[in-house]
């Protein structure tokens, strides 16, 4: 007699979708693929588009995470309106830098992982729990990272228990590091971080925090060829997500365009962006 019932894996204990797939259908997992022997000329990393710069900054009451819109493949711009910042669940978001194909797949898996846990357990994971789950997924990709297909996400969320926005960064081995105030990943992150350092203050409003991330992305695009600046002719601007106690939302294109237009207007007179005082010493400076 053939047994038509759902296989035992469907009723096994556990609340992780990743673990369920690993047991029941491992071919669906990004981490189970093999690339074959390495070292035959080109690196696998040259074959697929790369996502570039993601920035995040906290403000009292929440966190902002923004990403530019460019994907590159060597010297070619593979896509000029790619989206690299995604909602992970209601109170968190993830931005991706690195091999776009694998990163997008990993984000999808992460989204299902969080929703799956919520449905099975009837409660949501803590923000730290979510950050750790993402670390596990990245760790599974280490083999491919070694062959040039690295994924380096930036995770931001609102911690309902602590009542504040938090940011986590990762390395390719799945190392998880909590960042204070702001952070950036991707090829333009060095420039973005320099910009954030000068512009960030602890008492930013939500709108100011959004402006700071747009400024940082502008500075990244200014000096890193793989990061896309604001595309004025096509009206393509960064993807911006704001997460507060009320949940996460993506700013509309019009809202982001308004901020970007103000940033660009300022740069018309000072192309390097707002100047910081030489001897600041105060965290609550007025005019930027």
């Amino acid at each position: 007699m053939t047994d038509a019932r759902l296989p035992a894996a469907f009723t096994a204990s556990g609340s992780s979708f990743h673990d369920f797939l690993a047991a029941h259908q491992p071919d669906l997992l990004p981490s189970t693929r093999s690339l074959g022997p390495a070292g035959s000329g080109t690196s696998a990393g040259d074959l697929a588009p790369h996502g570039t710069t993601i920035v995040a900054a906290t403000f009292p009451g929440g966190v902002v995470i923004s990403g530019d819109r460019r994907a590159t493949m060597g010297n070619v711009i593979a896509q000029r309106d790619i989206e690299k910042v995604f909602p992970a669940d209601e109170f968190s978001a993830v931005g991706i830098a690195g091999t776009a194909g694998i990163a997008v797949e990993m984000v999808r898996l992460f989204q299902v992982e969080l929703e799956h846990y919520e449905k099975i357990e009837g409660s949501t994971l803590s923000l730290d729990g979510k950050a750790n789950r993402l670390a596990t997924l990245i760790r599974g990709n280490l083999g491919m990272a070694m062959q040039g297909l690295a994924v380096v996400p930036l995770f931001a969320g609102f911690d309902l228990d602590a009542g504040q926005g938090r940011i986590f960064s990762y390395d390719v081995t799945g190392g998880r590091y909590e960042e204070t105030a702001f952070f950036s990943v991707g090829s333009g992150s060095l420039f973005a971080k320099g910009s954030l350092k000068k512009l960030y203050r602890e008492d930013l409003s939500e709108e100011e925090a959004v402006t700071v991330t747009i400024q940082a992305l502008y500075d990244a695009a200014d000096d890193d060829s793989a990061t896309g600046g604001p595309d004025l002719t096509r009206r393509i601007f960064p993807v911006v997500r704001v997460i507060t106690a009320a949940g996460g939302r993506r700013l509309t294109d019009d809202d982001v365009a308004q901020v970007a237009d103000r940033v660009i207007a300022g740069r018309m007179t000072r192309p390097d962006g707002p100047g910081a005082p030489l001897l600041g010493g105060t965290t609550t400076g007025g005019e930027r």
Partner: protein, 263 residues
């Protein structure tokens, strides 16, 4: 070793069916009602933590009566199946019909396999569409039968009495408020009296197509429930019959605002 007694297949299946039916009948009734914006589920369940109605996927909900551990198993299997399909294909490719079929196969196989006891459960799998005419309610029985329900459906407990009351009072295209009032009245209706069930003893959830999120399932918390039900007179407790599964102490009602029973 003695030869086993001969039992005719008819008798064997009848015995198994009687066994399952008895288990299901012991619990309390669960009602699914179609209303203008989707599908409403109401049941009597004093536990705020152990649910009989749950979310499976964006547009799909699961409701069950009978043995808790058995339907909880099926619920988890359904969530896994739906999440796996949505991940492998697309979120739109997860359908209530596919899920109902998988459940039917599972329940049917268990029912007719000699070595296992049949599941003492009955399920509803419901799916909301873009418009009311696309809404679906599937009924799955312990032996793997699938039925397509329209308007309203009742399972568990004294289903016949509740269904008779619903048949009399159900109206198509009702608002949530009207549908809820009819459903709660039906659950409180018995041969001898009409009980008023305390708000805290009700588990109410909807698949609401008007929700802006892709996930259309929502539980109705006691505070909102009270507002929807309005003034109902003095409450009385449930019938003496032994309750099935989820009757444990209410422990985890975290974000549901506590509400005093009406009256």
């Amino acid at each position: 070793m003695s030869a086993p007694f001969y039992v005719s297949p008819e008798q064997l299946m009848k015995d198994r069916a009687d066994f399952a039916r008895k288990g299901i009948g012991r619990g309390r009734s669960l009602v699914a009602v179609q209303y203008a914006d989707g599908v409403l589920f109401v049941t009597e369940n004093p536990s705020q933590a152990l649910h009989k109605v749950s979310e499976i996927y964006d547009r799909i909900a699961f409701a069950a009566v009978g043995r808790y551990n058995e339907f909880e198993n099926l619920r988890i299997a359904g969530v896994r199946l739906a999440d796996m399909r949505g991940y492998a294909y697309d979120r739109r490719d997860v359908t209530g019909r596919g899920l109902a079929n998988a459940y039917a196969q599972t329940l049917g196989t268990i029912f007719s396999s000699g070595g296992e006891k049949p599941y003492e459960v009955e399920l509803f799998v419901a799916e909301v569409g873009e418009v009311a005419s696309q809404d679906q309610i599937y009924r799955l029985t312990y032996e793997g039968r699938v039925g397509d329900e329209h308007g309203y459906a009742v399972m568990g407990g004294d289903a016949e009495t509740v269904e008779a009351h619903l048949k009399e009072h159900y109206r198509e295209g009702a608002t949530l408020e009207q549908a809820l009032q009819v459903a709660v009245a039906a659950l409180g209706h018995t041969q001898t009296e009409d009980r008023v069930i305390a708000t805290d003893d009700l588990e109410v959830a909807v698949l609401d197509r008007t929700r802006s999120q892709p996930r259309k399932f929502a539980r109705i918390v006691p505070a909102r429930l009270q507002a929807l039900l309005g003034e109902r007179g003095a409450t009385s407790s449930g019938p003496g019959g032994a309750a099935d599964g989820p009757d444990g102490p209410a422990t985890d009602a975290s974000d549901d605002a506590p509400v005093a029973p009406p009256g």
